[in-house]
Amino acid sequence: MIDVLETKDTGEFIINVGPQHPSTHGVLHLIITLDGEMIKDVDPQLGYIHRSIEKMSEKLSYRQFIYVTSRMDYLSSHINNQACSLAVEQGLGVELPSRAKVIRIMMAELTRLASHCLWYGSTGLDLGAVTPFFFGFRERDEILDIFEDTCGARLTMNYIVPGGVMYDLHPDFQKKVKQFIINFKKNFHEYNDLLSGNIIFQNRTKGVGYISPQDVIALGCTGPVARGSGVSCDIRKWYPYEGYENLQFDEILETDGDCFARYMVRLREMEQSIRILEQLVDAIPEGDFQAKTKNVIKLPKGEYYQKVETARGELGVYLISDGSQYPYRVKYRSPNFSNLFAMKTMAVGQKIGDLVSVMAMLDLVIPDIDR
């Protein structure tokens, strides 16, 4: 759905990409100024899927507003729920049972893997290879089956609630996760064989969409986008939550700052998530999966801020309570919002065909930007 808007006297074209373009993975509308094939300017038009989740959250109770957040970054819904639950628990001052903490970390890491698998598939599809899509979805489906057993959903989980998790794990959970780890390790070399070493793929991503570490910090990028430029920003390492400090894993950094570096960060991150799962799968403590909380939650008057690392970067939940049953104000600092802002820096000076690579490596989820 690319159509030419107007031609200026200078020979520059202004074209629209989207809102229904397949490579935008949602309803993102870009107004691009082109000089021949070169991109001169990118102006994203947001709001096509804006639902005002922040306003909705003000009308919902502390138990209810968590369900809405599953619809923000729907590929990281467990982690969104976790961030909100942690913010509410800060206000309640409850101490979670250790079983709940471990379940949450395992769910978060499985979510990260599922999200990166989908990103891998769609990246291949965007850049003209169909097979990665099947590889990515093969692993993703296995994870979603594990989720379905335990929480009954495959996309909008709503499993992590204030005080712990909603139900106990499915009896088959450990067995299935172990089987998944074996399968994933067996299959993972195919990911690298198919795309990482592929010369066509490398030509389309190496040296494309460069962003410097200074720009990354100034533009507020987080997650794999920032780590692809060598900027350390993993919240799990910087401000550990829920016991990440006791786990062995590395923060992945690449220094090239181009699309291929961002690709490699995500691929190598998948291995680290597997590493975390391996440490936890045999060490799920027995006990309660939920702390005792009141049915109607009222937070003390005050402000609570919680940051977590989603598959795309730093998600912040800023909660203001006036002492009543409903939050006074909720603000989500979503990772994709700032990452998309950096797209102009990456894309200007590139060819129009490279825009697809840049967008694929940003791993955009539009409902997370629009909220």
Partner: protein, 151 residues
């Protein structure tokens, strides 16, 4: 810097500011001082707040506060700066996008939802809502019988 050190250094630098305690050190300032304070916080090597994590606006019915969450990557300390805008009818505040570029869209979002004008912002348009949208949806007095369903 620890929270106590941060607080004592800030007190000597900005004697007119007040503090609140929660998980963060909160620095309460008036909206007219925002550029002066933020420049100092960013440029002073003692603080080195090189990243703006989050910029939110809060409608307190009589006034607005703009909340800047700052982080220093070298010291790992964080600070919340709260700028109070007294004029609710005609809210204005100086932009900080020249200090932290990421504020560009955050400020456009705050303008879109709250109607707070960011002075000297080069491109202050609505970000999510259409340009001809009436009113500012996240204000507490915003009424919309069609789209907002009261439970």
């Amino acid at each position: 810097m620890t929270k106590e050190e941060l607080k004592s250094t800030l007190t000597t630098l900005f004697p007119e500011a007040t503090f609140e305690e929660n998980a963060f050190v909160n620095l309460n300032i008036s909206s007219v001082d925002v550029l002066k304070v933020c420049t100092e916080l960013k440029e002073n090597t003692m603080f080195d707040f090189d990243s703006l994590v989050c910029l939110s606006c809060v409608d307190w019915k009589t006034h607005f506060t703009i909340v800047y969450l700052l982080r220093s990557r070298s010291f790992k300390h964080e600070l919340m700066v709260k700028a109070k805008i007294d004029n609710h009818e005609n809210a204005e505040i100086e932009t900080v996008r020249n200090l932290w570029m990421t504020a560009h869209w955050h400020e456009r979002e705050a303008y879109d939802f709250f109607g707070v004008k960011f002075l000297h912002h080069p491109d202050l348009r609505r970000l999510f809502n259409p340009d001809d949208w009436d009113g500012f949806p996240l204000r507490k007095d915003y009424m919309d019988e069609v789209n907002i369903v009261e439970l």
